[in-house]
Amino acid sequence: MAYRIAIGSSDGIHVNLKFGEVSKFLIYEVEDGKTRLCETREVQQEENEAECGNKGCGTGGCGGNQSGCSGPSDVLGRVESIADCRCVVCKKVGFQAQKQFEKKAISVFDVECDIEEALEKIIFYYEKIDGHESIRRKRTEA
């Protein structure tokens, strides 16, 4: 079955952006073992996101420190924009975003490596678990 992977990268080679820094996600589609870059998806800067840092913004978050997070509302829009993907790969993904992805059963991989390497490992993993096969690898291959 086809699925999509969202990657945060500024140069198309390395996974080098934090989740919050991404303005355009690279969306890869994997189908029948083939991988292709199917779109670059722009992320809408949200109003409350721009406002973030102002005291009292957002709801349900900890407004205690001035620059602090204001709960899940900060990230909801971003998370929603790639809600059709099976996983997201960024250099760092904050706690609030991780929780929101978890809610949608989207896996989060916060790693720093080449896109190629990340795709290879993730696709291997999904292939095995989708086929109900062991992910056991010999040490030399790892």
Binding site: V111, K121, Y125, R136, K138, R139
Partner: protein, 432 residues
């Protein structure tokens, strides 16, 4: 088809974290998923300076399955060394990192030059149970930490017994074994329990011999030490409980260590005199109660099933029904252990079954004719089935739910008396 195991009596190999915990000031570092330590810890007797709730753990997740968890392991060891003050750090790996192929041994080898020793034991659950895990930890100490010593201390003997925490009486038992060996004029050395730790580990290579008191657990370790450290070993299969076995045990150790026979016999006589003084005074109680419990069954790991069977037959004159060994004893040891069940006094032989499935054991207990009320010594799982048979039940092996043991023991002359007290306390409660 997948088999269902009902009421298993052991944990996965990562349960060896309890073996590490039993070494004073030794700290397990877990390379495993979050929650492993929580599930493997026992609810009593494992709090303290290092407890399962604070064991450093890599808490690996999906990301580490896909991308490998070695980075996290490296930083976890690095930080454990910084923030937790211990004498020995033992990295234990769970199933996940071994399945995905993390080279934990390589990561640990980066800490060779650390101020404190860091060693590594592969304890993935699919490799075996916590009896195996226990052996892996001792193996790791031998292979990665100990060095051969040219200097030998005269009379020094390392004592090894069964698995800490898995054995309810581990602490009391090993202290009592020390005491008995000491009475023969030898110097005991053990690594588990209060005030035993890295200094005792350091003394291991200087010992004249290793004494293993267990039907099979640890035999591999003894062979390894013989080969690497040049320490011969005495394998004493039966956990000595009560006078008959303890006297045999002392004679065997005395002979192996060249202790003069006169000295051994003097020690034995002193103990036996007191032991039989007690037995004699309560003989009326035992005789009356034989009417109640004609036959008994033990459901425990190899050491207790064998030790208690010998004790109840040889010292108390009870008749064995079928006995069950539930620790998944490796097949190559089974025949030898079976033979031991035939070496009972009065030409009595006990039938023994190596069975891990609680359902099957309970069916056999239900269907056996005990010629009266059965006496069952086992894990908490056997309580209900024994009560349904109107029998007497004593919880002596894992899992333990209705008993608190701090440092009580069943080993030796005194241990035999303790076991008699426990059994007959339950027997007399029936009438009162």
């Amino acid at each position: 088809m997948a088999k269902l195991l009902d009421k298993q009596r052991y944990k996965c190999a990562l349960g060896a974290m309890q073996t590490v915990q039993a070494i004073h000031r030794a700290l397990p570092i877990l390379h495993s998923g979050p929650g492993c330590a929580q599930k493997l810890s026992d609810t009593i007797g494992s709090s303290g300076y290092f407890s399962p709730n604070i064991f450093p753990c890599t808490s690996i997740n999906e990301k580490d399955v896909v991308f490998g968890g070695v980075k996290k392991l490296n930083s976890t060891i690095e930080n454990a060394l910084k923030v937790v003050d211990a004498d020995l750090y033992v990295v234990l790996t769970g199933c996940i990192p071994e399945i995905v192929g993390d080279d934990s041994g390589e990561v640990v080898s980066r800490f060779e030059d650390a101020d404190k020793p860091v060693i590594y034991a592969p304890t993935a659950g699919f490799k075996g149970n916590n009896y195996k895990g226990h052996e892996q930890v001792v193996d790791a100490i031998i292979e990665q930490y100990l060095k051969k010593s040219d200097k030998k201390q005269k009379g020094l003997v390392n004592i090894w017994a069964d698995v800490p925490y898995q054995d309810l009486f581990w602490l009391g038992n090993i202290r009592e074994l020390e005491k008995l060996v000491e009475e023969l004029g030898l110097i005991p050395n053990t690594i588990f329990g209060f005030n035993r730790g890295i200094d005792n580990i350091n003394k291991i290579p200087q010992a004249e011999f290793n004494l293993l008191v267990s039907p099979w657990v640890g035999l591999g370790n003894m062979k390894k030490m013989e080969k690497k450290l040049g320490i011969p070993y005495l394998h004493y299969k039966t956990l000595p409980i009560g006078a008959t076995e303890t006297s045999k045990f002392l004679r065997a150790v005395g002979k192996f260590a060249n202790v003069p026979e006169g000295k051994v016999e003097a020690v034995i006589k002193e103990h036996e005199d007191y032991y039989y003084y007690l037995i004699e005074r309560y003989a009326d109680l035992f005789l009356e109660n034989r009417v109640i419990n004609k036959q008994f069954t033990v459901v425990a790991d190899a050491q207790y099933t064998l030790g208690i069977t010998k004790f109840l037959v040889n010292d108390l004159g009870l008749i064995p029904a079928k006995q069950f060994v539930v620790d998944d004893t490796p097949k190559n040891y089974r025949d030898e252990i079976k033979e031991e069940f035939k070496q009972l006094n009065y030409g009595i032989e006990a039938e023994v079954s190596f069975e891990t499935d609680g359902y099957k054991i309970h069916e056999e207990i239900k269907n056996h004719d005990y010629h009266g009320y059965p006496l069952v010594l086992g894990g908490y799982y056997e309580k209900e089935v024994t009560e349904n048979q109107k029998g007497n039940f004593l919880n002596i092996s894992w899992p333990v739910q209705d008993k608190v043991v701090l440092d009580d023991f069943y080993v030796g002359y005194t241990g035999g008396i303790r076991l008699i007290e426990d059994i007959y306390t339950i027997a007399v409660q029936r009438f009162n």
